[in-house]
């Protein structure tokens, strides 16, 4: 459903993505791994239009996305759960969710059932939430836009192990609804548990892509590309 073909992206003059190609199929959970600064976030920002690719093509459900406005890409069905979560601190939990709602499978009631913690905290301000609650809110908000493809940028970063567990269970359930997911994650265990396929990014290039089985058996990949900083 998503097809990225030789995308080049820049921040000013610095060339960050040097011709990235990858695909995500319907209902697939694909992970994108790589060391700090490899360009994972930039890849997600290029898909969502926050960064405009200089060249290359990004087609989603057969339509070209590269060069479109951020909200058009979101409306086409791509939702980003960003690095640092992007919670509106001055809005209540409920308002954070309400402004995202678009018709579809996920509703406010459904979300509160999925994350009961958010229901308990619905009247509280976004800036009063713990890191784990913020992450749940960010994922919940992403789901409420009822996307066809969910992009997650390091959803377990900086969270306590119990919370990481909870988030990873939530991701598994989301996957089981048939949602297509692109997961950027430094936690290898989670990637191996959830991923159908994996890509590894290094200095703005895809240096590895393979199925979950291949990835799990070939430990040299992890040693080569991921050992430092993971």
């Amino acid at each position: 459903m998503l097809n990225i073909a030789s995308v080049h992206s820049y921040y000013g003059k610095s060339h960050i993505l040097e011709g990235i190609s990858m695909t995500i199929g319907e209902g697939e959970l694909v992970t994108l791994l790589g060391r700090n600064g490899a360009g994972k976030t930039t890849t997600l920002r290029s898909i969502t239009g926050v960064v405009r690719p200089q060249s290359g093509s990004i087609t989603f459900l057969g339509r070209e996305m590269a060069g479109r406005e951020i909200h058009e890409i979101a409306q086409a069905g791509i939702s980003l759960v960003p690095e640092h979560r992007g919670i509106f601190g001055m809005l209540s939990v409920e308002e954070n969710l309400a402004i995202a709602v678009r018709p579809g499978h996920w509703t406010m009631a459904g979300i509160y059932e999925f994350f009961p913690r958010l229901y308990e905290r619905r009247k509280n301000g976004g800036n009063t939430l713990s890191g784990g609650e913020q992450q749940m809110l960010s994922i919940a908000r992403g789901l409420l836009t009822n996307p066809r493809l969910l992009l997650l940028d390091e959803p377990t970063e900086g969270l306590a192990p119990v919370i990481v567990d909870e988030i990873s269970k939530a991701l598994l359930k989301i996957k089981e609804t048939g949602m297509s997911v692109l997961l950027v994650e430094q936690n290898l265990q989670i990637c191996e548990k959830l991923g159908d396929r994996h890509y590894v990014l290094e200095e703005g290039r895809i240096v590895y892509s393979g199925s979950a089985e291949e990835f799990a058996t070939d430990h040299s990949i992890q040693d080569r590309y991921l050992s430092v900083g993971v």
Binding site: E69, A74, Q75, F88, M90, L91, E95, I99
Partner: protein, 284 residues
């Protein structure tokens, strides 16, 4: 007893300042845009009141249509010009909006002449009410009541509706709002039109009291910025409290020591800048 008169006057004036400042502050909060043309749109509102009353004979029609015309003008100028410069530093905003303000001001002189105009208080609101032992103009009481209602509607709009939540969310991160599939350009234009429309409304409401003249926008722009600095950029409650404070000080001091009013107001602003740089109700 004299002071009740001054305090009521101050409340009315303060609510006018509130309407002007709240628009300025919402626009700054969401768009990070410094609008030096805000006072000029206030002036356009005043002159529209004059012309609409002359044309239709009804103040009520001007009160209804005037703000919509000002909001529409604002919307057009946002769509054609202002949205192109949001990403530039504030100095560019000032340069462009001062230019627009001068164009509006000179246009007013060409259309209505350099000398001010008076606008009659609408017939229904002429006369005075006697409260206890003193008389107070009906129109001024109406002004206070009407602006309070407008303030409440505005509060509801900003705090209790999806539009308001989007405005507040966008003030934190416009990019994140876009990522949720919201057309941020449309939200910007609507908010700009709303904020400037409020200045137009203030111009209409103040016309029967203070008349209109081509430079009325300049005076009021300075005060609006003082209010916003005291109350805090982007703060609704700050605009309300700041507006009332400045209005009351000006009104009460006008009988005691008129020059002292400016001294107190600018002194208060300086103190706020030194002690609470984000304003009394602002956030860092």
């Amino acid at each position: 007893m004299l002071y009740i008169f001054q305090i009521l006057n101050g409340l009315g004036l303060g609510m006018i300042y509130f309407l002007i400042s709240v628009g300025l502050t919402i626009i700054f909060g969401l768009l990070n845009f410094v609008n030096f043309a805000h006072g000029a749109f206030f002036m356009v509102g005043g002159y529209l009141c004059y012309s609409l009353v002359a044309l239709t004979g009804s103040f009520w029609i001007s009160l209804l249509i005037g703000p919509l015309i000002v909001a529409f003008l604002a919307w057009v100028s946002e769509k054609t010009l202002f949205h192109r410069i949001y990403h530039l530093p504030h100095t560019f905003h000032i340069l462009v909006t001062v230019g627009i303000a001068l164009i509006l001001q000179e246009s007013a002189i060409i259309i209505w002449g350099p000398i001010g105009k008076n606008i009659a208080v609408p017939q229904e609101l002429q006369g005075v009410v006697t409260l206890w032992s003193f008389a107070y103009p009906v129109y001024r009481l109406f002004l206070i009541a009407f602006t309070i209602v407008i303030g409440m509607i505005l509060w509801f709009l900003l705090e209790r509706t999806r539009f308001g939540a989007l405005v507040r969310a966008g003030s934190e991160s416009a990019e994140m709002v876009s990522l949720l599939g919201v057309n941020i350009h449309r939200l910007f234009a609507q908010t700009f039109a709303l904020g400037v429309g409020l200045a137009g409304l203030a111009g209409i409401l103040s016309a029967p009291i203070r008349g209109v003249h081509p430079f009325m926008g300049v005076e009021v722009l300075g005060i609006a910025f003082v209010v916003v600095v005291i109350g805090g950029m982007g703060s609704f409650i700050g605009a309300l409290m700041g507006g009332l404070m400045v209005g009351l000080v000006q009104s009460v001091m006008s009988t005691v020591w008129p020059e002292g009013a400016s001294l107190m107001i600018y002194g208060a602003m300086a103190a706020v800048i030194l002690l609470r740089p984000y304003g009394l109700f602002g956030r860092a």
